[in-house]
Symmetry: C2
Subunit: 316 residues, 2 copies
């Protein structure tokens, strides 16, 4: 076996997931262990190094076949310098991650934020496999995103590209406060948090809905109610889908990508969400800009981060 | 003089403008002559070849110093194949422009559409000089645009990137029909055509405005009236600026560019337009995405097309 391998590291607040990919982005093996962030930077670095060595050791590949290690981190990163500027989940600030790992591993290391690596994972070897220009949305607690152009992560001038969750989509009079400080961002309506908020508001104001008896809600319950014919739930789902589709129309006019990939918990809603998103996208996008553009669910699930991190050496 | 030169061709419906640029994008010499489109493809090619030979001949540079020729065309182009797919102004369809010119000139030729080359001109050696990531708007009869990433024209998957004029910005109930088939596009409110339409509507419905006596209006008259304190005119200018700034906020969230460059006739309005655009941009853009981002008027005027065309060999 003379092929090259790449290790991806998904550095989370509680667990570190590592995986080996081949040069096509195929995930060959995974492994995980605790982060132990409370013990500090050195302990976390020790753990990453250990897990990376372990996975290569127990694989059919040799250490020499390992070309590089990539890591995705939830937080602000300086990609060029390889520094974690701020990672609230880890309690890290200004940690020279790349240098620390390179010293310990003796291999080239690259880092990027979790939204970008997840986008790269899906674009490289998930729903966007074989396509060059992808814009990815992750609909979770917030709405994250990543822009992949010519097969590579596009960072933007300040490393802030891909913040699709902060496109203003809701008209002023309907807009509510977003965590970013602005009003009417996509994140306020199309994230799980936004969907739950809309459902809670509906219940509280006495809308006629099957959601009314539910105490703690999550977005899945809203989707399930919508599928079962609850009109209030359906209206909420349609609102989330409407603004998502509308934001994609704006992105398509600027970037003319081949595919939009939608991942995160909310994307599990399936057709009830995607059909509406596609319809709204078609409504707001001039025909020549619609041609050849797909809107697809992500397929790698929570493996996208590992795969994308592994891909950083080839695709960033 | 051993330096390299590049010739840019701005192929318009009535005139062909050519210019020599050095490798920094400095425009050294220009020349122009009639297009004679009515005489057909061969005659137009003859003219381009003649003007290119003439300008190099009368310059202090030799033919050997000419590295390549670029041409910008109003219409749909297939950049990869060097074909003009459709150019209504010229009456051209499926003209293999690059091949025809390369055969006659014996130099490498590149072509692109006029919006992209104008954007490249401004980004390379105009308002965006020295910056890597620029999004350009041209506010004329319509609203065109171009996206320059890492110093190069970004085409998108179908060659349709940069259609910023067709971002939907006007809410449904206020939206009017756009030439693209959709409603509420930026072009309907921020183009000269849109501004004139709003002014005519105001006059026709009897709004109290100094514009009322004007028979044939152009956008400049609306800006002049606004500067002179006409409230109706000011409201129109603010509406054009509002949606322009809002569209930029959406673009900034996705691409995080360093600069937005605004050219075309409407941009001559100056501060009355730009101040409002900047304010609206700041209103809708999260603070980290505003950082380091400028909104600037184009500075090359109608020379942007020549300069950008000359730059195609270095920047596409």
């Amino acid at each position: 076996m003379s092929e090259s391998i790449y290790v991806g590291v998904d550095l989370g607040g509680t667990a570190i997931k590592v995986g080996i990919c081949d040069q096509e982005g195929k995930l060959l093996l995974t492994h995980e262990g605790p982060t132990e962030a409370a013990k500090g930077v050195e302990a976390v670095i020790d753990n990453i190094v250990q897990y990376v060595r372990d996975i290569v050791e127990k694989s059919p590949y040799s250490w020499d076949q390992l070309v590089g290690v990539g890591a995705g981190v939830a937080g602000f990163t300086n990609v060029r310098e390889g520094i974690i500027i701020q990672a609230p989940n880890l309690g890290f600030s200004d940690v020279p991650m790349r240098a620390l790992l390179e010293e310990r591993l003796g291999k080239p290391v690259k880092i990027d934020n979790d939204a970008n690596v997840a986008a790269l994972g899906e674009a490289w070897s998930g729903a966007g496999r074989g396509l060059e220009n992808c814009v990815c949305y992750t609909l979770g607690t917030g709405v994250g995103g990543g822009v992949i152009l010519d097969g590579k992560i596009y960072q933007g001038s300040g490393g802030m590209a891909g913040e699709v969750g902060h496109i203003t989509v809701v008209p002023d009079l309907e807009a509510i406060q977003c965590g970013c400080g602005k009003k009417g961002c996509l994140e306020t309506v199309s994230s799980a948090t936004g969907i739950i908020r809309m459902a809670k508001d509906a219940v509280e104001r006495g809308d006629r809905t099957t959601l009314s008896t539910v105490e703690v809600m999550n977005a899945k319950e809203v989707f399930d109610a919508a599928k079962a014919g609850d009109e209030v739930a359906l209206r909420i789902v349609n609102r989330a889908a409407f603004y998502l589709g509308k934001s994609m129309a704006a992105v398509a006019a600027v970037l003319n990508p081949e595919v939009f990939i939608v991942g995160g918990g909310v994307a599990y809603a399936g057709d009830i969400l995607f059909n509406e998103v596609r319809e709204v996208f078609a409504k707001f996008t001039p025909e020549p800009l619609q041609r050849g553009v797909s809107i697809l669910p992500a397929i790698l699930g929570n493996k996208a981060g590992i795969v994308g991190a592994a891909g950083l050496h080839l695709r960033s």
